[in-house]
């Protein structure tokens, strides 16, 4: 218990501070809603696509209240963790938040299952390359409501 607390605390007490040292491939979470578990060729859509633009007022408000964006950045961390050292925790965090956002708030009762995949974007020369590096199993939505 003390050891694991120290393990979590140490990076804060002796930080590395190497922000943005290397620009690594960046994850995007894509989700697919399914009517049955065996549905083939699901339609993938980006989870929380960023807006086209933001007004000055929105930018100002986000200095003090940016809850959804910070949650999205946390999900980026979970996506990176899921690739670097997979844990059930990271997958659960992603599932919980996409189900809450996509299904419960938008009332889509016709869908029984949901799954997500992680697409990593990187630059090669002048081209942007997208690579699917993780795909979850389909999860029954009802279980999480």
């Amino acid at each position: 218990m003390i050891f694991s607390a120290l393990k979590l605390l140490l990076p804060a007490i002796i930080p590395s501070w190497n922000f943005f040292d290397v620009i690594v491939p960046s994850p995007r979470i894509q989700i697919a809603l399914l009517q049955s578990k065996k549905q083939t060729k699901p339609e993938w859509a980006e989870f929380r696509p960023r807006p086209r633009s933001l007004s000055v007022k929105q930018l100002f408000v986000h200095l003090f209240w940016n809850a959804q964006w910070n949650e999205s950045l946390f999900l980026v961390s979970c996506a990176e963790r899921l690739i670097d050292y997979p844990t059930q925790h990271s997958e659960e965090e992603i599932f919980t938040r996409i189900i809450n956002d996509t299904v419960l708030k938008k009332h889509k009762p016709q869908y029984e299952y949901i799954k997500f995949r992680l697409v990593f974007v990187r630059r090669e020369g002048e081209a942007l390359i997208e690579e699917v590096r993780y795909q979850s199993k389909a999860r029954q939505i009802e279980n999480d409501r």
């Binding site: 620009i23 807006p51 209240w65």
Partner: protein
């Protein structure tokens, strides 16, 4: 800046930073409300200055609980800086002599300096940062730009090259700005503007507030070290 005053301003600034972070968690999940509502209340107590020693201990314990809850930091560097400030404040309040208290608070100032210098060092040794491609990539495909329209900055190669070098030079020069109080104040204003621009462009609002909370330590440290000498 007087030691006691620097400590008190740090507590107030950290209180605001932790309060802002905490209220963002009150909107959705019950488990997060259970953790972050007490944290918001403790942050207010820290701002007001009620039972401060025990409030910061409670905040530190809650921060460890939060690390467990999210299997690490929720918001990367911002959470880590918040924890570092908290740990240093706990030491300041509970260490027995002024010498050790000053050492603990000085450690925060040193880490703040390193936060800029090391960030600059890791960039300057990377050719992708030196030729401006790294910053271009941040705008082009990273998860950080807050809107799609910001991605068009990735095409402004010359501007990004200049910005990359300005950031690198500023971060590397930061330790030297401690030589006089005037240069330190200028450096902190530039640094705050840098964090503000990161908050606006990349939505890193938590970094802005929590880094400001560490500034009193370096203002006190500069006076303590360089003026005394």
């Amino acid at each position: 800046m007087d030691f006691e005053l620097a400590i008190r301003i740090t507590e107030i600034a950290l209180g605001f930073a932790l309060f802002q972070q905490s209220i963002e968690h009150l909107r959705t999940y019950l488990i997060e409300r259970i953790i972050f509502l007490p944290r918001a209340v403790l942050a207010v107590l820290l701002i007001v200055g009620v039972a401060t020693s025990w409030v910061i201990v409670a905040l530190l314990v809650l921060s460890i609980v939060i690390l467990y809850r999210f299997d690490g930091p929720y918001n990367g560097g911002a959470d880590r800086m918040g924890l570092l400030v908290l740990v240093c404040l706990v030491l300041v309040h509970f260490l027995p002599t002024l010498y050790w208290k000053e050492l603990a608070f000085g450690y925060l100032a040193v880490q703040l300096t390193l936060s800029y210098f090391i960030s600059g060092y890791v960039k300057v040794i990377n050719p992708q940062w030196r030729n401006g491609h790294a910053l271009s990539d941040v705008f082009l495909f990273s998860a950080y730009p807050v809107s799609e329209s910001l991605r068009c900055f990735s095409r402004s190669k010359r501007l990004l090259l200049i910005m990359s070098w300005l950031v690198i030079m500023f971060e590397l020069m930061f330790p030297f700005m401690l030589l006089t109080q005037a240069t330190l104040v200028v450096a902190l204003v530039i640094a705050a503007a840098f964090h503000l621009s990161n908050a606006v462009l990349f939505g890193l609002n938590r970094f802005f507030l929590v880094w400001l909370a560490a500034y009193p330590s370096i203002i006190w440290f500069q006076e303590r070290i360089f003026v005394t000498i």
